[in-house]
Symmetry: C2
Subunit: 284 residues, 2 copies
């Protein structure tokens, strides 16, 4: 069952609405301009994972967009309402959205809880490297490009995924125009290197204009405790091929192992995937 | 009065709806992913200007997005319905929108007719040059970046305008990472050069990944008939300062003269502005 709860000053715990019915005006700048932000979380047994990290990133996105959104406690109450109302005790997707709303009015904000789509997990991925068009330093000199914000303007991310699928691949790893590995359209890139018995877990550096991954962040914390060395890029495509494992990690699909890049196989490791997968599962 | 007409197979002339009421589901990919396209036209005395050019560009955008949208005649009938219903005989904004709709369902498409916002026209503009982050050749090698498509994912365009306004400017001219003049967030750039009594009207070349401007295209046709020489970039910022006039042109604001760029004055020409403005007004 899909549950929709709007954040509404008149309803401290959120206003429950019918997601199967129209709820947004066509003049909402969320739809006319993709002018808004979002977060997608996983809820397990009624509890959202990494709630603090998602709310913190939502606040960062809002700041980058100069968007006035409800405070974290208001989101938390609406999330709690939505998870209480749902009659589904499986894993759930919890989506938070805030748009700039009508011209001149305040933000439109809601929580949507829905089942995890089937067939999402457990498959190895064929991935294409696609140029994101930006160099890896542009985010720092051009804040109007909103590089660190998770905005609703995802048309390019969706087009990249369509391009991959029409070329027989499952997903995408974006590269910068100066040849650095960036991120997936909806995920963070991870590689493992095992050197002299020491396991290294490495992700591209945030300064390259990628989104800070909440799942990557939580996994890094868990992996450090488990004895892994951590590293932060820069990575280039050759690093992916020279690694002992490549994964895309995200909040709902979780850890997904990459088996090929641009049609060329990369090292797969059932052992490392199982180990990292267990660490991902341990995150709360 | 604002009039909303949905394109709906059950209503050959379009289905009139209430724009002041919610009409879209929160799961429409137009809002969740900015996954859709749009056009904005001006209607004068009940007739949309440059209708063919806008419908052609909508079709081009749809193709770039692999989006299945209604045929031109369906749009035309819905536009006609909307313009017939409105009781406003002033200039009107006619907006066409098509989103990818619900996951797995077809496109959501509508026409919205509303009054032209006040205070939009007749002001000289202070403009900032802002880096768009892309080099001027990326559009040709990376179609997934949707450079020639007018998508709903306009968060960066809006952020650039906010950045300009917070720095005391009115509008933006984007430049490429390799230093070429591109376009405004919602307009096309024009410059004039008068050499030996010959008037040249120049715009950045389309191959730089900009949107083909319908107003620029129509003005070029009219200007050629009036004896102007036409030119297509590449242009660099120095060309703006060395010109005999700089304008941003778009379908609703029409021709807007630029008076300064990054705080430095550029040549303004009331005569050329009046001449080009009359040519713009002559477009149908």
């Amino acid at each position: 069952m899909t549950v929709l709860v709007f954040l509404d000053p008149d309803y401290p715990d959120g206003r429950i609405a019918d997601a199967s019915q129209p709820q947004l005006k066509v003049t909402d700048t969320g739809v006319t301009r993709g002018d808004g932000i979002f977060e997608t979380m996983l809820a397990v047994s009624g509890t959202p994972r990494k709630l603090r990290a998602h709310l913190a990133r939502l606040a960062t996105s809002a700041e980058a967009m100069e968007l006035d959104v409800p405070a974290s406690d208001v989101w938390e109450r609406a999330i709690s309402t939505a998870l209480t109302v749902t009659d589904d005790d499986g894993d759930l997707v919890v989506k938070l959205v805030a748009t700039r709303g009508e011209e001149g009015a305040g933000a439109t904000a809601w929580v949507l809880v829905s089942p995890v789509p089937g067939g999402l997990r457990g498959r190895r991925l064929a991935v294409l490297l696609l140029d994101r068009g930006y160099d890896s330093t542009v985010g720092q000199r051009a804040p109007w490009l909103l590089m660190g914000a998770k905005t609703l303007s995802y048309a390019v991310n969706m087009a990249a995924l369509r391009h991959a699928r029409s070329h027989g691949a499952d997903d995408v790893i974006f590269t910068s125009s100066d040849g650095k590995v960036l991120e997936g359209p909806t995920s963070t890139v991870l590689i493992a290197r095992v050197r002299d018995g020491v396991k290294h877990l490495i992700t591209p550096q945030l300064e390259s204009g990628i989104l800070p991954g909440t799942s990557q962040g939580a996994l890094f914390t868990a992996a450090r405790s488990a004895g892994w060395e951590l590293g932060y890029g820069p990575l280039v495509p050759a690093d992916l091929f020279a690694s002992d494992g490549v994964w895309l990690i995200s909040s709902v699909r979780l850890l997904a192992e990459v088996e090929s890049i641009d049609g060329k196989p990369v090292t797969v490791s059932p052992e490392l995937t199982a180990e990292l997968g267990a660490l991902v599962d341990s995150v709360s």
